[in-house]
Protein backbone atom coordinates (compact mmCIF):
# COMPACT_ATOMS: atom_id res chain seq x y z
CA UNK A 1 0.00 0.00 0.00
CA UNK A 2 2.72 2.46 -0.91
CA UNK A 3 0.23 4.37 -3.05
CA UNK A 4 -2.08 5.12 -0.14
CA UNK A 5 0.64 7.18 1.53
CA UNK A 6 0.26 9.70 -1.26
CA UNK A 7 -3.48 9.95 -1.01
CA UNK A 8 -5.88 12.21 0.81
CA UNK A 9 -9.30 10.79 1.57
CA UNK A 10 -12.05 12.73 -0.27
CA UNK A 11 -14.11 13.17 2.90
CA UNK A 12 -11.18 15.01 4.49
CA UNK A 13 -11.17 17.63 1.72
CA UNK A 14 -14.96 17.98 1.96
CA UNK A 15 -14.71 18.31 5.77
CA UNK A 16 -12.14 21.07 5.27
CA UNK A 17 -14.57 22.84 2.90
CA UNK A 18 -17.36 22.69 5.46
CA UNK A 19 -14.98 23.95 8.18
CA UNK A 20 -14.24 27.07 6.11
CA UNK A 21 -17.95 27.46 5.30
CA UNK A 22 -18.99 27.39 8.95
CA UNK A 23 -16.15 29.70 10.01
CA UNK A 24 -17.61 32.13 7.46
CA UNK A 25 -21.14 31.57 8.81
CA UNK A 26 -19.96 32.18 12.40
CA UNK A 27 -18.29 35.41 11.30
CA UNK A 28 -21.47 36.45 9.51
CA UNK A 29 -23.43 35.97 12.75
CA UNK A 30 -21.07 37.60 15.26
CA UNK A 31 -19.62 40.57 13.37
CA UNK A 32 -21.30 43.98 13.05
CA UNK A 33 -18.93 45.61 10.55
CA UNK A 34 -20.58 45.42 7.13
CA UNK A 35 -17.20 45.10 5.35
CA UNK A 36 -16.25 42.06 7.45
CA UNK A 37 -19.71 40.58 6.79
CA UNK A 38 -19.08 40.86 3.03
CA UNK A 39 -15.66 39.20 3.54
CA UNK A 40 -17.37 36.32 5.37
CA UNK A 41 -19.74 35.88 2.42
CA UNK A 42 -16.70 35.64 0.12
CA UNK A 43 -15.24 33.02 2.47
CA UNK A 44 -18.42 30.93 2.26
CA UNK A 45 -18.51 31.23 -1.55
CA UNK A 46 -14.90 30.03 -1.69
CA UNK A 47 -15.70 27.01 0.46
CA UNK A 48 -18.52 26.05 -1.93
CA UNK A 49 -16.18 26.53 -4.91
CA UNK A 50 -13.67 24.14 -3.36
CA UNK A 51 -16.45 21.59 -2.82
CA UNK A 52 -17.34 21.83 -6.51
CA UNK A 53 -13.72 21.31 -7.57
CA UNK A 54 -13.35 18.36 -5.18
CA UNK A 55 -16.40 16.61 -6.62
CA UNK A 56 -15.13 17.42 -10.11
CA UNK A 57 -11.92 15.58 -9.19
CA UNK A 58 -13.70 12.66 -7.50
CA UNK A 59 -16.13 12.04 -10.36
CA UNK A 60 -13.78 12.90 -13.24
CA UNK A 61 -16.41 15.33 -14.50
CA UNK A 62 -15.74 18.89 -15.64
CA UNK A 63 -19.15 20.29 -14.66
CA UNK A 64 -17.81 21.22 -11.22
CA UNK A 65 -15.02 23.36 -12.60
CA UNK A 66 -17.40 25.06 -15.02
CA UNK A 67 -19.73 25.87 -12.10
CA UNK A 68 -16.80 27.39 -10.20
CA UNK A 69 -16.02 29.60 -13.19
CA UNK A 70 -19.57 30.97 -13.16
CA UNK A 71 -19.65 31.28 -9.36
CA UNK A 72 -16.47 33.37 -9.46
CA UNK A 73 -18.18 35.71 -11.94
CA UNK A 74 -21.28 35.97 -9.77
CA UNK A 75 -19.07 36.61 -6.70
CA UNK A 76 -17.30 39.44 -8.50
CA UNK A 77 -20.64 40.99 -9.48
CA UNK A 78 -21.95 40.48 -5.93
CA UNK A 79 -19.00 42.18 -4.27
CA UNK A 80 -19.12 45.10 -6.73
CA UNK A 81 -22.80 45.74 -6.02
CA UNK A 82 -22.35 44.97 -2.30
CA UNK A 83 -19.53 47.47 -1.88
CA UNK A 84 -21.58 50.03 -3.82
CA UNK A 85 -24.34 49.47 -1.26
CA UNK A 86 -21.78 49.90 1.56
CA UNK A 87 -20.76 53.27 0.09
CA UNK A 88 -24.42 54.32 -0.22
CA UNK A 89 -25.05 53.19 3.37
CA UNK A 90 -21.99 55.08 4.63
CA UNK A 91 -23.23 58.23 2.90
CA UNK A 92 -26.63 57.92 4.63
CA UNK A 93 -25.74 56.83 8.18
CA UNK A 94 -22.00 57.83 8.30
CA UNK A 95 -21.01 54.41 9.64
CA UNK A 96 -20.15 50.90 8.50
CA UNK A 97 -21.84 49.41 11.57
CA UNK A 98 -24.97 47.38 10.93
CA UNK A 99 -26.42 48.51 14.28
CA UNK A 100 -26.66 52.04 12.91
CA UNK A 101 -29.14 50.98 10.20
CA UNK A 102 -32.34 51.89 12.04
CA UNK A 103 -33.94 54.41 9.73
CA UNK A 104 -37.25 52.53 9.84
CA UNK A 105 -37.35 52.83 13.64
CA UNK A 106 -37.23 56.62 13.70
Amino acid sequence: MALSEFQVEPWLVLAFCSAIFFIGLAGLLIRRNILVILMCIELMLNAVNLTFVTFSKIHNHMGGQMSVFFIITVAAAESAVGLGLVIAMFRTVRSVDTDEIQLLKQ
Binding site: V8, F16, S18, I30, V36, I72
Partner: protein, 176 residues
Protein backbone atom coordinates in the same frame (compact mmCIF):
# COMPACT_ATOMS: atom_id res chain seq x y z
CA UNK B 1 -7.56 10.95 -4.40
CA UNK B 2 -4.01 11.00 -5.67
CA UNK B 3 -3.03 14.41 -4.37
CA UNK B 4 -0.03 15.30 -2.28
CA UNK B 5 -1.06 15.14 1.40
CA UNK B 6 1.78 17.37 2.62
CA UNK B 7 0.76 20.29 0.39
CA UNK B 8 -2.91 19.72 1.16
CA UNK B 9 -2.39 19.80 4.92
CA UNK B 10 -0.14 22.86 4.74
CA UNK B 11 -2.61 24.80 2.58
CA UNK B 12 -5.59 23.62 4.66
CA UNK B 13 -3.94 24.69 7.92
CA UNK B 14 -3.04 28.07 6.42
CA UNK B 15 -6.60 28.55 5.13
CA UNK B 16 -8.25 27.65 8.45
CA UNK B 17 -5.86 29.79 10.48
CA UNK B 18 -6.23 32.85 8.28
CA UNK B 19 -10.00 32.48 7.98
CA UNK B 20 -10.23 32.44 11.79
CA UNK B 21 -8.16 35.60 11.71
CA UNK B 22 -10.63 37.09 9.16
CA UNK B 23 -13.53 36.75 11.58
CA UNK B 24 -11.67 37.49 14.84
CA UNK B 25 -9.33 40.41 14.08
CA UNK B 26 -10.56 43.87 14.96
CA UNK B 27 -8.88 45.88 12.21
CA UNK B 28 -10.69 45.76 8.81
CA UNK B 29 -7.38 46.08 6.92
CA UNK B 30 -6.04 43.08 8.85
CA UNK B 31 -9.20 41.15 7.99
CA UNK B 32 -8.74 41.99 4.31
CA UNK B 33 -5.10 40.85 4.23
CA UNK B 34 -5.96 37.61 6.06
CA UNK B 35 -8.62 37.06 3.39
CA UNK B 36 -5.95 37.48 0.68
CA UNK B 37 -3.91 34.74 2.35
CA UNK B 38 -7.00 32.49 2.48
CA UNK B 39 -7.52 33.05 -1.26
CA UNK B 40 -3.89 32.15 -2.01
CA UNK B 41 -4.19 28.97 0.08
CA UNK B 42 -7.35 28.06 -1.83
CA UNK B 43 -5.55 28.67 -5.13
CA UNK B 44 -2.87 26.21 -3.98
CA UNK B 45 -5.50 23.58 -3.16
CA UNK B 46 -7.15 24.09 -6.57
CA UNK B 47 -3.75 23.58 -8.19
CA UNK B 48 -3.05 20.31 -6.37
CA UNK B 49 -6.58 19.14 -7.26
CA UNK B 50 -5.69 19.62 -10.92
CA UNK B 51 -7.90 22.66 -11.58
CA UNK B 52 -5.14 24.89 -12.92
CA UNK B 53 -7.36 27.40 -14.72
CA UNK B 54 -9.50 27.83 -11.61
CA UNK B 55 -6.35 28.37 -9.51
CA UNK B 56 -5.16 31.11 -11.86
CA UNK B 57 -8.62 32.71 -11.92
CA UNK B 58 -8.75 32.56 -8.11
CA UNK B 59 -5.54 34.58 -7.84
CA UNK B 60 -6.52 37.01 -10.61
CA UNK B 61 -10.16 37.63 -9.74
CA UNK B 62 -10.33 37.09 -5.97
CA UNK B 63 -6.87 38.05 -4.72
CA UNK B 64 -6.54 40.68 -7.45
CA UNK B 65 -9.81 42.34 -8.32
CA UNK B 66 -12.13 41.69 -5.38
CA UNK B 67 -9.54 42.37 -2.68
CA UNK B 68 -8.43 45.60 -4.38
CA UNK B 69 -12.09 46.62 -4.33
CA UNK B 70 -12.31 45.81 -0.60
CA UNK B 71 -9.10 47.70 0.27
CA UNK B 72 -10.25 50.60 -1.89
CA UNK B 73 -13.60 50.85 -0.09
CA UNK B 74 -11.90 50.58 3.36
CA UNK B 75 -9.60 53.42 2.32
CA UNK B 76 -12.44 55.48 0.85
CA UNK B 77 -14.62 55.19 3.94
CA UNK B 78 -11.76 55.78 6.40
CA UNK B 79 -13.02 52.66 8.17
CA UNK B 80 -9.59 51.33 9.06
CA UNK B 81 -9.69 52.16 12.76
CA UNK B 82 -10.18 49.06 14.91
CA UNK B 83 -13.86 48.47 15.45
CA UNK B 84 -14.90 46.89 18.69
CA UNK B 85 -18.04 45.36 17.26
CA UNK B 86 -17.02 41.94 18.62
CA UNK B 87 -16.89 43.16 22.20
CA UNK B 88 -20.21 44.93 21.87
CA UNK B 89 -22.19 42.00 20.56
CA UNK B 90 -24.03 40.02 23.19
CA UNK B 91 -22.12 37.08 24.69
CA UNK B 92 -25.17 34.88 24.08
CA UNK B 93 -25.04 35.62 20.36
CA UNK B 94 -21.37 34.65 20.22
CA UNK B 95 -21.88 31.41 22.15
CA UNK B 96 -25.04 30.63 20.19
CA UNK B 97 -23.37 31.26 16.83
CA UNK B 98 -20.31 29.20 17.79
CA UNK B 99 -22.42 26.30 19.06
CA UNK B 100 -24.71 26.37 16.02
CA UNK B 101 -21.78 26.36 13.61
CA UNK B 102 -19.97 23.61 15.56
CA UNK B 103 -23.08 21.40 15.58
CA UNK B 104 -23.70 21.98 11.87
CA UNK B 105 -20.03 21.30 11.12
CA UNK B 106 -20.07 18.00 13.04
CA UNK B 107 -23.29 17.01 11.27
CA UNK B 108 -21.76 17.78 7.88
CA UNK B 109 -18.56 15.84 8.64
CA UNK B 110 -20.60 12.88 9.89
CA UNK B 111 -22.84 12.96 6.79
CA UNK B 112 -19.88 13.29 4.41
CA UNK B 113 -17.97 10.52 6.10
CA UNK B 114 -20.89 8.10 6.29
CA UNK B 115 -22.33 8.62 2.81
CA UNK B 116 -20.80 6.38 0.17
CA UNK B 117 -19.29 8.16 -2.81
CA UNK B 118 -19.97 5.89 -5.75
CA UNK B 119 -17.60 6.85 -8.48
CA UNK B 120 -18.99 6.71 -12.01
CA UNK B 121 -16.42 6.43 -14.75
CA UNK B 122 -16.39 10.05 -15.89
CA UNK B 123 -15.07 11.13 -19.24
CA UNK B 124 -12.34 13.40 -17.87
CA UNK B 125 -9.82 11.21 -16.10
CA UNK B 126 -6.43 12.86 -15.50
CA UNK B 127 -4.98 10.83 -18.37
CA UNK B 128 -7.75 11.93 -20.76
CA UNK B 129 -7.24 15.57 -19.77
CA UNK B 130 -3.51 15.20 -20.31
CA UNK B 131 -4.09 13.62 -23.73
CA UNK B 132 -6.44 16.36 -24.91
CA UNK B 133 -4.10 19.21 -24.06
CA UNK B 134 -4.36 19.95 -20.34
CA UNK B 135 -6.91 21.37 -17.94
CA UNK B 136 -7.13 24.85 -19.48
CA UNK B 137 -7.81 23.57 -22.98
CA UNK B 138 -10.46 21.11 -21.80
CA UNK B 139 -12.26 23.78 -19.74
CA UNK B 140 -12.09 26.30 -22.58
CA UNK B 141 -13.46 23.86 -25.15
CA UNK B 142 -16.34 22.96 -22.82
CA UNK B 143 -17.01 26.62 -22.10
CA UNK B 144 -17.44 27.50 -25.75
CA UNK B 145 -19.43 24.41 -26.71
CA UNK B 146 -21.54 22.82 -24.01
CA UNK B 147 -21.71 25.80 -21.65
CA UNK B 148 -21.98 28.58 -24.24
CA UNK B 149 -25.40 29.82 -23.04
CA UNK B 150 -24.36 30.38 -19.38
CA UNK B 151 -21.15 31.93 -20.64
CA UNK B 152 -23.07 34.50 -22.68
CA UNK B 153 -25.50 35.11 -19.80
CA UNK B 154 -22.46 35.85 -17.63
CA UNK B 155 -21.66 38.85 -19.82
CA UNK B 156 -25.21 40.17 -19.32
CA UNK B 157 -24.81 39.67 -15.55
CA UNK B 158 -21.53 41.59 -15.51
CA UNK B 159 -23.10 44.45 -17.50
CA UNK B 160 -26.00 44.58 -15.04
CA UNK B 161 -23.56 44.57 -12.11
CA UNK B 162 -21.52 47.44 -13.59
CA UNK B 163 -24.62 49.57 -14.20
CA UNK B 164 -26.08 48.66 -10.81
CA UNK B 165 -22.87 49.41 -8.87
CA UNK B 166 -22.47 52.81 -10.53
CA UNK B 167 -26.15 53.68 -10.06
CA UNK B 168 -26.11 52.71 -6.37
CA UNK B 169 -22.77 54.23 -5.40
CA UNK B 170 -22.91 57.53 -7.23
CA UNK B 171 -24.03 60.69 -5.53
CA UNK B 172 -27.59 61.63 -6.42
CA UNK B 173 -27.77 64.58 -8.81
CA UNK B 174 -29.38 67.63 -7.26
CA UNK B 175 -28.73 66.42 -3.70
CA UNK B 176 -25.66 67.39 -1.69
Amino acid sequence: MDISPVFFYVFAALAIGFSLSVILKKNPVGNAFSLVMVFFAFAGIYAILGAHLIAALQVLVYAGAIMVLFIFVIMLLNADEPSFDMGRSHIGIKIGAGTLCAILFCTFVWAIKESPINIPAGRFTPEAIQASGGNTQVVSELMFSEYILPFELTSVLLLAAIVGAVAIAKRKLGKN
